[in-house]
């Protein structure tokens, strides 16, 4: 005869079985992702740090610990110091321009008008395109002989003999220090602006309409509403947009690779590109790893800020 205690045990074991299988299922489901990430992100990440203290090269498979020699050596080269400066300079300049333009663009795109889908499509194009291919278009636009910009300037009498921009009929954008830097920054802005705009748009559309109506009733004009109501409300989202922009620009090497290869001389060199030239093309993995490691503090800071602002956004 089955006692009450027996029934309880049976119930209990069935519950335990269900609990166990759920746990089992959750482990089995999660395991492949964890293994993948540990093997192919975790290990390379620690190797990246380890390599920077060794003399690892492409051809040689042995590793020797050489302390901070790589760091001392890379710091001695002007290319590295310039790359370090450029990485910060390009990122900060581009992000300042992007956040201003994205604000304007998001406000424009928030209004209703016919053909909005087309405008949206065109504006998103640069972000959706593989950047190495988009940059090829810019390579032609900045060409030393056939640049369409040169042609327009000559046509309007701004470039060529006896004009304000000088006697030459070509600006040779990618051949001069200042212009080449500007060119790299412009392409970075071109490419990242859509992301910031779309993120800001999402933020703007999440503002409750009655808040804006209230501001209008209270007599606030457009600018007042924008700076005192909208911007404070979308601040957390705006900082997320900004930080993604920082990460994507700071760690990117495609634009300078395709556009200038770091030139003229090394005036548009950036950290990730210099790491590639040293580590892969030059074969000195250790030095390359040491250069790439300089990306890490900025990444870490950006990641922490993203987490904090996302959390703030959830609360509000």
């Amino acid at each position: 005869m089955e006692t009450a205690a027996d029934i309880r045990t049976r119930e209990h074991s069935r519950l335990r079985f269900a609990f166990d299988s759920e746990r089992f299922l959750s482990t089995v489901f999660l395991l492949p992702a964890v293994v993948y990430i540990v093997l192919l992100v975790g290990i390379p990440f620690f190797l990246a740090i380890a390599f920077s203290f060794t003399n690892a090269t492409v051809g040689d498979t042995t590793l020797h610990f050489i302390g901070i020699e790589n760091f001392v050596r890379i710091f001695r080269t002007p290319q590295f110091r310039r790359a370090l400066f450029n990485s910060f300079f390009f990122t900060i300049t581009a992000q300042i321009v992007i956040i201003i333009l994205a604000n304007i663009l998001a406000v424009i795109l928030e209004t209703d008008f016919r053909g909005k889908w087309l405008a949206r499509f065109l504006i998103i194009l640069p972000w959706a395109t593989p950047i190495s291919l988009g940059t090829i278009g810019w390579l032609w636009i900045f060409d030393s002989k056939f640049s369409p910009i040169d042609w327009v300037l000559v046509r309007f009498g701004l470039l060529g003999p006896g004009t304000i921009l000088g006697p030459s009929k070509h600006l040779t954008f990618l051949g001069k220090e200042g212009l080449a830097m500007a060119a790299v920054i412009v392409v970075q802005i071109w490419r990242t602006l859509p992301l910031a705009t779309v993120i800001l748009l999402a933020g703007l559309s999440s503002i409750p309409q009655d808040l804006l109506d209230q501001a209008e009733v209270d007599g606030a004009g457009f600018l007042r509403t924008h700076f005192q109501v909208r911007i404070p409300l979308i601040m957390p989202i705006m900082s997320v947009a900004l930080l993604f922009g920082v990460i994507f620009t700071f760690t990117d090497m495609v634009v300078p690779f395709v556009l200038t290869r770091g030139g003229p001389v090394y005036y548009t060199q950036v950290l990730p590109l210099w790491a590639w030239f040293k580590g892969i093309e030059g074969g000195s993995l250790g030095e390359g790893a040491a250069i790439a490691l300089f990306l890490f503090p900025v990444l870490l800071a950006a990641a922490i800020f993203i987490l904090r602002s996302a959390r703030r956004a959830e609360v509000s």
Binding site: L30, L105, L133, V258
Partner: protein, 281 residues
């Protein structure tokens, strides 16, 4: 508001919008125009670069498809893209479900940790990765890309799908389980059909990611016939003294436009993932 200020406002608005659209689209326009330009037209500095001064030609496309490795790049990119999408789905869907439903309180924390992995950029990892790829003898093989790309797509896709699964009411699954489905079956029969749009967003995100990715493809692959589009076009078609500019620009724009068209439809979903679900767009 008076008629006049409304008119002024619209002018400023559309003027601004026009400038932005021009800035965004100009490179594509130039690429598209040049795709069909004759040499004699393109290489004369005094010619108007925005119109056809000579009749357009298809010769550049002939050159691109018949005399370069471009079709091979496209094929390679498709192979890598499809395989990476499959791996990503197989790994990320269960992981996301596990974090959203089964893991309990620490699921949220683990989800954020996985998202942070997405922020680790290839430019930080490519040097040790190169060593690891060499160690398993996948140098100069498409398989190296198939192996490595999911490290970028899995974290982001898991995060995106986690949000999807969370938005599906638990009651639905519980009802299915009361009806006798196991947890696994209720996931397959109830949750998956409701999450299709999330899965499609992940497919689009992952596929475009494999097309965009540059640094790993540049580092691991050395022979022309194994290149993918993003590296093959700028590296193989530019090198040498002769720039076949029209074909090069055609190669870029032919990929850029279709990829963008697909991507644009799913951008909002993907961006919602970026903002960590803080904005429900």
């Amino acid at each position: 508001m008076s008629e006049w200020t409304r008119y002024l406002k619209r002018t400023v608005l559309f003027g601004g919008l026009g400038l932005f659209c021009f800035f965004a689209a100009a490179p594509f326009l130039i690429m598209l125009i040049n795709t069909f330009k004759q040499d004699a037209d393109l290489y004369r500095p005094q010619n108007n670069p925005f119109i056809y001064n000579f009749p357009p030609t298809l010769e550049n496309l002939h050159l691109l498809f018949l005399n370069t490795n471009y079709p091979v790049f496209v094929r390679n990119s498709l192979i890598v893209g499809v395989l990476v999408v499959l791996i990503t789905l197989v790994v990320a869907i269960p992981a996301a479900y596990s974090l959203a439903r089964l893991a309990g309180r620490w699921g949220e924390q683990a989800g954020i940790a996985i998202f942070l992995v997405y922020l680790v950029p290839p430019t930080l990892l490519f040097i040790p990765m190169f060593r690891m790829v060499t160690a398993v003898n996948l140098n100069d093989s498409l398989w190296s890309l198939v192996m490595v790309y999911p490290t970028i797509s899995i974290p982001f896709s898991t995060w995106l799908l986690m949000g999807f699964f969370k938005s599906i009411p638990r009651d639905l699954e519980e009802a299915a389980m009361v009806d006798g489905y196991s947890r696994l079956m209720s996931f397959i029969k109830v949750v998956m059909p409701l999450s299709l749009s999330g899965v499609v967003a992940v497919i689009v995100f992952t596929f475009t990611l494999t097309l965009h990715e540059f640094i790993y493809a540049l580092t691991f692959i050395s022979s022309s016939s194994n290149r993918t589009i993003s590296v093959g076009v700028p590296v193989e078609l530019i090198r040498g003294d002769v720039f076949f500019w029209q074909s090069l620009l055609a190669a870029a724009v032919l990929v850029a436009i279709p990829v963008s068209v697909i991507y644009v439809f799913f951008l909002d979903r993907i961006v919602a993932g970026f903002t960590m679900g803080a904005v429900k767009g």
